[in-house]
Amino acid sequence: MLKVTNLHAEVDGKEILKGLSLEVPAGEVHAIMGPNGAGKSTLSYVLTGRDGYEVTGGTATLDGEDLLALAPDVRAARGVFLSFQYPLEIPGVPALTFIRTALNAQRRARGEAEITAPAFLKLAREKAQALKIDFDMLKRALNVGFSGGEKKRMEILQMAMLSPRFLILDETDSGLDIDALRIVSDGVNALRGPDRAMLVITHYQRLLDYIKPDRVHVLAGGRIVASGGPELAHELEANGYERYEQAA
């Protein structure tokens, strides 16, 4: 599915990713943990094509296709979805309008027919209910005035509706209360499947009790410095990053 090899990337002329390699096969969930400022969000922006994140070396492919050559919206249509660490507010655009526009744009890009209005509303109601989001909230301008936790839930709702193949969750657990964490995790787990893969960025082992990873990686100093099974997350929780930061 995703294959990243020796990736180097700069922001404002400063190298942040310094030879990062990572492979996430289809059907697997990989967690990325690492200290603040290690480059976790940078990796998620590089993979999704944000302006200002300049790749200076290495490759990233999705199912063998060069991801880095594609425009952000084309990557999205291929199934790449990022749940933002800090979701944006979109004044004046109701959440439903935003999601419908996105969904139809993806469908057009894939040569599929647009979704009908009734089918879209039915889907939205169903997904909102599963995520315990009040449907009326979807009529409000997306994320404007939403609480931190509500914004994160809205990210997962968008994910559920767009049904992506490669999911990147950047600290989706931060800002969520205990109940919301469970609901959101259920939503994420519902998207697990043999044709999908996920990259879950988190600071807390707790999320990984709900979304069980196949592999855990430590990102420090712009590289993956250690990888292991789920037990690695427990080890990090107990001992911190000190020894990895030295390695980096």
Partner: protein, 341 residues
């Protein structure tokens, strides 16, 4: 110094120029070297207007011909589509006079429709009796080669309501000017505008409101989106005369510039000579929020679609303030057409 007399006398010396403070961003003298011949009569059938279905009366002024006198008697309501048509490369001026008796109501749907390289001037005088109400919606679709100046003088009475939304896509040089004499006395005024400019279009939305009495309300919101080499001008002046206490006036102007070569010139002015007033104004000119653009594109929207969605939402906040439901939908469609790829 006016365009009307310049056209009448075919005398460019009477055109406003950049030396006139009020016209420095919409210079006509420097643009028009020779005033063209008077426009011939309008040729052919102009077809139906966009607002015709909403109106009980359609008034058409074509190439300056005809004088429109509209009177709404006390207590009555009228729905008038006012079409101002320009065709060809001549010069012409049109006059419109609208009077509302006490308590009368008018929905005025005004359109500017042009074809050619004309020089056109339109004078409107609107007078509202006590407790009268007007919602004026203007869709200005002048031709890219046309010079068009619309000048409205609005006189309010106590307890009257005047609400205006002007939408324009500009012209070779275009100005839509509204001057309001506000007596206070719980009269309320809303003056909104939207300019959507591309290529080399120029649009100037100028408003002057003079509060002369106590307890007056004025609300203004103008938004613009300019791209290519287009130029938007907003001049908003609110004068609160001595003694016009308890005036409540708000003015907002916000513009998005989508290209390096586009330009927006804004001059919001509050001149306050009374003591007890609540006045506020806000003015921002900037680029489209790049973070929001990336967010939309990450969700799958191509750049042009994402830009259309965000700019439609931006000006939508002005369009939302239109009272008349069908007109609001129509206007929203008109704006969307000009923002979509």
């Amino acid at each position: 110094m006016s365009l009307t007399s310049a056209i009448r006398d075919r005398d460019v010396a009477q055109l406003p120029s950049r030396r006139d403070e009020d016209w420095r961003w919409t210079d006509l003298r420097g643009l028009i070297r020779i005033l063209p011949q008077p426009s011939p009569p309008f040729a052919g059938d102009p077809g139906a207007g966009v607002f015709d279905p909403l109106a009980t009366q359609v008034v058409t002024l074509a190439n300056g011909r005809g004088e429109a006198v509209i009177y709404v008697p006390a207590g009555e309501t009228a729905w008038v589509a006012l079409r101002i048509l320009s065709q060809g490369d001549g010069a012409h001026a049109a006059r419109v006079s609208i009077t509302l008796a006490d308590g009368a109501r008018l929905h005025l749907f005004e359109t500017y429709e042009g074809e050619g390289g004309y020089v056109a001037q339109t004078s409107l005088a609107l007078t509202l009796g006590e407790g009268a109400g007007v919602e004026r919606i203007v869709l200005a679709a002048d031709s890219a080669g046309g010079v068009s100046i619309s000048q409205a003088e609005v006189t309010l009475s106590p307890k009257s309501e005047f609400a205006q939304t002007v939408l324009t896509c500009g012209g070779r040089r275009q100005r839509i000017e509204t001057r309001v004499a506000h007596p206070g006395g719980h009269a309320s005024l809303r003056l909104d505008g939207v300019y959507l400019l591309a290529d080399k279009a120029h649009a100037d939305l100028t408003t002057v409101v003079t509060h002369a009495g106590v307890d007056g309300l004025t609300e203004q919101l103008t938004k613009g989106v300019v791209r290519d080499q287009a130029r938007g001008v907003f001049q908003g002046r609110i004068v609160v005369r001595e003694g016009a206490d308890r005036t409540d006036a708000k003015m907002g102007h916000h513009a998005l510039i989508l290209s390096d070569r586009a330009e927006v010139d804004a001059k919001p002015e509050l001149e306050i000579y009374a003591d007890d007033v609540a006045c506020a104004h806000g003015n921002t000119v900037g680029a489209l929020d790049e973070d929001a653009m990336f967010y939309a594109r990450q969700r799958g929207m191509p750049e042009a679609d994402a830009r259309a969605l965000l700019t439609e939402a931006f000006v939508g906040q002005v369009i939302d303030r239109i009272d008349h439901n069908e007109a609001r939908d129509l206007v929203r469609g008109w704006a969307a057409e000009r923002l979509r790829p």
